[in-house]
Subunit: 201 residues, 4 copies
DNA sequence: AATGAATGAGATTTCATTCAT
DNA sequence: CATGAATGAAATCTCATTCAT
């Protein structure tokens, strides 16, 4: 099957990554065997190794994909001029995604990444970039807002950014352990927190 | 079969668990081999299998140990009559621990557990209990406070508890990826958040 | 199926064999992958399999090529009427070749063949023929010389032929392991040996 | 099976190496699979990897063993005071071994080593040492003999040493390809050669 | 109770070869 | 005739666990 188009190659690559996400979300990186991915992707071992040099590289590729996706979400959100609506958009983008079952799979894989980052420097780098992007953006938004007097100058923008991210990360974790968790009250609290950053009268 | 004292047995067991924590925090559960634990513990494979039936059981034992430790922290904190100081104590207990290098190792292992819980029901159970305890306690405290008028009745106690836990979990993660992270501004924001729960005048 | 000229086909074939020699001399038969040959030949796997049915057949083809080449050398040498000059020509032909870097590559492949002959009957056959030809020729020359009284009748012609071949084979081996080896004194010794075959006065 | 004696370990190691020699002599290094060695040695894969880190290391260990054995032969031979008998002893030691079927196996493996040395620097080093030892010794013996006037000063000792070694190496090769080869006439020629080194009257 | 050599299923990866285009 | 993606058997090596001593 020679001389195939780039889109053919891209489709095959995506096929492998999608299969890997399903497997990883189910069994974790290390309990997932290449055989599992082979089966899930309906390809052969050799075919997979034509696209990725190793299992590790598949994991990396998934992490990078995540990274790219989140960057896109942020870039989109940032287009809003109004500060409140930027934050709102970010919030909706991230929390909204959690309702998509497919995205849930990917979040499960993200948790795997957090663990994997501890021993795999390449994953660490990707995960770190994945958090640093949002953090810097949020931090910049808050700084802007402070200049406009919309947020108290007492607030440390960086810490606030971290706090918001933590609120999301923690929610992702807790949702994994308890599917019945209700998102609405949690989001209201997040709003309460965001309002608490406003300058006190 | 030499007969030895219980304290001897306990010491051996602790020796294994400590060694395992060091290994797991370094390489993760799955990249840690029994050989690694053997080496780190300065025992032999056979000896370890006298105390634990499998590698999985070692992981479980560590998770349970964590669980017990955190329950102790909470029980201690709860002794305070004043609500603000209970929350303060809890906050200090959890965040304060992070300064201890030994405890940092264990937090690294906790992150591993979060990932492991996805595919190991026994770990999931332990991890879940580890979160449910604090959550219920915090929730109860908030409910109490609401009754006393110290916290707005608008607040969903359970969601607030989750939010506080998330603030901690997220901090643990972000600290892993960026050791230079500063705890002080983060804690101030946590306080800001807690205050924002008070009834508005 | 485009129709191409025979010379085109021959050129393609030679291209593959040359590439294979380079690869084999570098990494040996078994460490050389078809991919290596593909790369070196600047062709594609499919193209190569149009000319050879398998990797084994490429090895065989190289062995046969060697064989043909050496037969040519011997045929040429034999044209000399004088016995001493036949031997001299043979000696020069074989040892002289070793100065050509390209030929050195092929000698490296020959050593591989010696090993390969142990388990591959087809290679064994080719290698054996490659030695038997020279051996029989040398043996015949010596017998002739004995009849003419130029070589002692004590000498076993076949053993003498083997001995000369061994002198060459051993030199090829030792040259591989020590490039600084000096050919001149070695050749003088070979002459000494040849002279020692003359009838004692 | 813990706490076993050193001799137990040595026996196991030898068991593996012996099995490997059988396999390698039959199929060559690269066609021999670890499974073959496992079967032949009647051990398990894991057991073998307790003694050797890789297949390559098994090959190396065999090469080193050869090397040690040959050094022993030379050391023994050297004990003779008389030059002629030293050479005779060396000749007998090396050629005599070839009659032992077990030793024939090992010679087959030696031929493999010659090929392997081309791409494996560690094997090259061992093979080279295995040739350099005898070469230097033979060279020294010839130099001695020249001082005593027993060998012509025209002879280059080093080249003569190489020549003798070549006579052996070539014989080993040719014997592999033709089992019916007769050793006696060959050895007589070797003697003729050695005598031809004496100073001419 | 401790030791550590042995086990052997199974994991990752390779690579000669094929065949649709 | 050429291409090169796909195949899948098979190779090397790992590692949790066992058990004779």
């Amino acid at each position: 099957m020679p001389k195939v188009s780039q889109s053919y190659l891209d489709a095959r690559r995506a096929q492998i990554l999608d299969a890997a996400v399903v497997c990883f979300s189910r069994e974790g990186f290390h309990q997932t065997t290449m055989k599992d991915i082979v089966k899930q992707s309906k390809l052969s071992p050799g075919a997979i190794y034509n696209y990725f040099e190793s299992k590790e590289q598949i994991i990396e590729a998934i992490a990078k994909e995540r990274h790219a996706k989140e960057r896109l979400l942020l870039t989109e959100a940032r287009k809003n001029s109004n500060i409140a609506s930027v934050l709102e958009r970010i919030r909706d983008a991230f929390f909204g995604e959690l309702r998509d079952p497919n995205e849930r799979l990917r979040k499960r894989v993200s948790i795997q990444m957090w663990a994997e980052a501890q021993r795999n420097p390449r994953i660490l780098k990707i995960v770190r970039r994945g958090v640093d992007g949002p953090r810097k953006l949020l931090s910049a938004i808050i700084s802007d807002a402070q200049r406009k007097g919309e947020i108290s100058i007492e607030v440390n923008p960086n810490a606030a950014a971290r706090f918001m991210i933590a609120a999301f990360q923690g929610f992702v974790l807790q949702m994994e352990w308890d599917r019945k968790i209700n998102e609405q009250p949690y989001l209201r609290l997040l709003d309460t927190f965001l309002k608490s950053l406003s300058p006190s009268v």
